[in-house]
Symmetry: C2
Subunit: 218 residues, 2 copies
DNA sequence: CCTACTGAACTTACGCCGTAAGGTTGTCAA
DNA sequence: TTGACAACCTTACGGCGTAAGTTCAGTAGG
């Protein structure tokens, strides 16, 4: 009676709240530590309440995909194509760094939602604008995508992570320098701080290669 | 008494049998459909028997990593470096095609077993033999690896797979050609039969790029 | 005011999962 | 014969996704 509006018991289960908390939870617990039950706890509701809003866990994951995709802008079309492509690549890479534990899921799922298709179409258009034909645009986009996927995954789920289940073998670690000299020599350049330089080298390789294709067929 | 040898009740739980059946099961059920219980059924034993041979499921997975890694040969050192590198890349790519459902796990785990280190050291040596310095070898290996990871993953877990949880939206599908012309034009080159050509284009881009680095500093 | 309906949230239950803890069996060396 | 040991089995626990059914506040129509 006193309240003219509903008291909204604690906090309503809005898509924004559910998906943001889910993303945060994944970054805390990892993608396999993430569960509907834990998310519900975090939200202050019971597990099954979430099924009122999403038909399944997979649908919730898809909604998170779209939310993260929203942070992936297309670079302004008035820049030179090489700069546009470099910016798009770095934007994608930034997604990996911003959501390291969600990224492996993100990068290996089709972007067949509307937001995903907008980005995909824009990226293909970028290659077309640069002067590549339809086939070249398709294949180059893919090749760039492979590199971006791998780079992001490596930094979030690959060598950069701790040892695999077979716990760090001290004997093996000490042996590396002796038996695997090339691995030992490469070690300093595999450190996290070196990632950006490696990423930029690979990106430059691909950009140079694309530029050569363009020059070969004027 | 009649038997001089042990009857071996049904079939012994050898590493080879366990790991081969595990890999086969993963290809049938996918990596998340794979469970210790199902593997035990397949092997004709009980779930917990497997824990006599591996301390945990993760250790079994690691053993499978090493088994698959055994199919990843280093190319003969007497070939030109570009050919060696191309062969190594194709060998890695073949792993993805041979174990499509295991590959996402394979490619995102550190190869810190002995077999993995041998391959890693050999690959880095390949770049060194080509004339790259330690830093270049490390970064180029990594950049190539990014591409190979992404290519394999895309073909085993990405766009090539069916729609994500949000089931194929017929309206959206029909709309694509109209609203996303670049996506529609690229469609034919995204088909499975086109993968190899796309892979080879990306590989050539990277090889060309590496070659240029080498020529710039003779 | 009553009623019927609706949507949000909750409850219970099922069959999976990995695995901790402990028990049983068969083989072989001493 | 005995005892150690490896190989394998049994039981049980807590967690998972989710199917099915229930509770309850708010509201529109009579």
């Amino acid at each position: 009676m006193a309240d003219t509006e509903a008291p909204t018991r604690a906090a309503p289960l809005t898509p924004d709240r559910m998906e943001s908390l889910a993303l945060a939870l994944i970054e805390e617990e990892g993608i396999e530590g993430f569960s509907i039950r834990k998310l519900a706890d975090r939200l202050g509701c019971k597990a099954m309440s979430l099924y009122h809003h999403y038909p399944s866990k997979a649908h919730l994951m898809d909604a998170m995909l779209d939310r993260v995709l929203a942070d992936l802008p297309l670079p302004p079309p008035d820049l030179p194509w090489r700069e546009r492509l470099a910016r798009a690549a770095r934007a994608f890479h930034r997604i990996a760094l911003a959501h390291p534990r969600f990224f492996p899921f993100f990068s290996t799922h089709r972007m067949n939602t509307r937001a995903g298709l907008i980005w995909l179409d824009g990226m293909l258009g970028l290659f077309r604008d640069a002067g590549f034909d339809e086939e070249q645009a398709a294949r180059l986009f893919r090749a760039f995508g492979y590199f971006l996927m791998g780079a992001g995954l490596d930094e979030t789920a690959g060598y950069s992570k701790g040892p695999s289940a077979t716990a760090a073998d001290a004997v093996l670690d000490a042996e590396v320098a002796r038996v695997f000299p090339n691995v030992a020599a490469a070690g300093p350049f595999f450190r996290p701080g070196e990632r950006e330089a490696t990423f930029e080298l690979g990106l430059a390789l691909l950009l140079d290669g694309a530029e050569q294709i363009l020059e070969a067929r004027p």
